[in-house]
Symmetry: C2
Subunit: 323 residues, 2 copies
């Protein structure tokens, strides 16, 4: 293994100059640079990252904390990895299964300077404890945290949901069901509020008996559809789903039951994933990848001393064939 010193010896220059070549310093003559680069190539030289990190105090690695990896957060993950990479940062993933001790491992890695920053997708550690790690490096969260000290790039779900309702109600839908996500999450609460407020505003019934909590997958959607049919009450004329997967399940099951969509039932998804595109499901475009970019931008200031603006994000209704 050849190192800086070896290159320096062979080239006849000092380690400092070789280092300058490595870091593209302008204060090196063309010839010198050429000579040194030549020797590096011959020796198949590679700088040692650990030495660089030790010297600079930066690892160029960012940790990402998530309970598990699933399709919902994949656009965020991939979006973040991509923008980070563009700026020379690598992403290292901590899957925690919502285990606090595993989460602590990630926070400790921030202290130990194994990562320069942390981005939280989901985490069960208390906001207060998370905050105690802020002094070791910047931390940003996707989910909204109770603690204002921790930056967040979450979007207010209220607006997105309202968009869907303002689309459905003018079309004459009065009885609207909801397939929801995690019961106690801030997101779910916002959506529920949006629904209840809209219904009150238009003087329409709030169908609590058609709330279906904890729906995440295609199969959940199919289950919801069957459950709706088994209600003693008449079928709602529309359903808002927690995400496109659930909407896909509802759609498939509805067709299986020979219901016409949107004739008998209108369906609105959420997120605008590829699946909704494929199946032609009306949905709310949720700029998840852009949120991930914002997360990196938020980190950029403390991390690199470069302030990057937060993109102004908004939901958007994508009308397709299910409404």
């Amino acid at each position: 293994m050849s190192n800086l010193e070896r290159i320096a010896k062979l080239s006849g220059f000092s380690k400092a100059t070789v280092s300058r070549v490595l870091n593209h310093s302008p204060h090196v003559s063309q010839e010198t640079r050429a000579t040194i680069l030549q020797i590096m190539k011959e020796l198949d030289y590679v700088p040692n990252r650990n030495a660089i990190s030790l010297s600079t105090g930066q690892t160029l690695q960012i940790g990402m904390i998530t309970s598990s990896i699933n399709e919902i957060m994949l656009p965020f993950l991939n979006g973040f990895v991509e923008v980070a990479e563009q700026h020379g940062f690598q992403t290292i993933i901590y899957t925690t299964n919502d285990d606090t001790s595993k989460e602590r491992q990630a926070f400790e890695d921030l202290r130990q300077k194994r990562v320069d920053a942390l981005v939280i997708i989901s985490c069960v550690t208390s906001a207060k404890e998370v905050e105690s790690y802020c002094k070791y490096g910047p931390i940003v969260s996707w989910q909204r945290m109770d603690n204002p000290a921790i930056g967040s790039v979450a979007m207010d779900q209220f607006k997105g949901y309202t968009l869907a309702l303002d689309h459905l109600i003018p079309k004459g839908h009065t009885r609207i069901a909801n397939a929801l996500g995690r019961t106690y999450s801030i997101n779910t609460r916002s959506r529920q509020q949006a629904y209840e407020q809209a219904m009150q505003k238009y003087n329409l019934p709030v169908l609590r008996q058609f709330y279906y909590p904890s729906t995440y997958t295609i199969l959940d959607g199919e289950r919801v559809m069957r459950a709706m049919l088994q209600q003693s009450e008449a079928l709602p004329s529309a359903i808002l789903c927690s995400n496109d997967h659930v909407a896909a399940g509802v759609l498939c099951e509805a067709r299986r039951q020979h219901l016409r969509v949107p004739g008998d039932l209108a369906i609105v998804g959420f997120d605008d994933t590829e699946l909704s595109h494929t199946l032609g499901i009306t949905t709310i475009r949720n700029p998840i990848a852009a949120q991930a970019q914002n997360a990196f931008h938020l980190l950029s200031g403390p991390l690199r001393g470069i302030d990057m603006p937060q993109a102004e994000l908004c939901f958007e209704l994508i009308e397709r064939t299910t409404t």
Copy 2:
């Protein structure tokens, strides 16, 4: 930020002794240890990982190369992360989108000692080029590589598929369809061979017109079911699926078409994921997490000087309600 030297000064001992405490060396007296630990706690001391890595030449990080993250490889990913963690290693994921330059980044990180080893889930870099990086650290692959220099923990799909056939044929199934995966992968070829050999052995027809390539998801499965019904020929009496998701799709669509399962059509999945359990699909148990463990075990020798045995793995038929 306090460091070893600071602790040494304050405790009155040398850096060497403090280091011994850190590394649980037995050659430190109880009192000394206690004193030093006490001071560490007071100063909220954390050892710097970069310094450790530079000094030891180990990062305790293992890179994982994959085209993208999806549900199929998730058990492998999670299985590997878990076993690695148990032995003090962290996993860092390189998603490459099958882009060779991104893959090269991962290999370069092995050279630069950012990771101690590499495990390949999927990669498009030529086996020859991959081999050229072997000298920088151990590399192991999940998929079978052409190059014998690179260890692999792939299992021979032939056996698993044969298991399914030996289950179906004695039950009287003579016309069997196949929903397959990547057309040119070694896995798919093995499965196809297993099918064709079994059919020849029992003197049954090889139904090439009921080969459905490139099936991966629930929706693909539903598509396959519809396609089978649209064939001019009579429906096969059974179908082997590339994975449980596809099987789930076939099952759902079959029911939607009012077919009896297994009466009109028997269905066999692959992998024994939670989904097959939930839906009661007969499937072939594929010990993916155990393969991931084997991958780590394979790395353990060159990585830690500790030889860990390869678990002898085998497929297993899990009979449920679809056959």
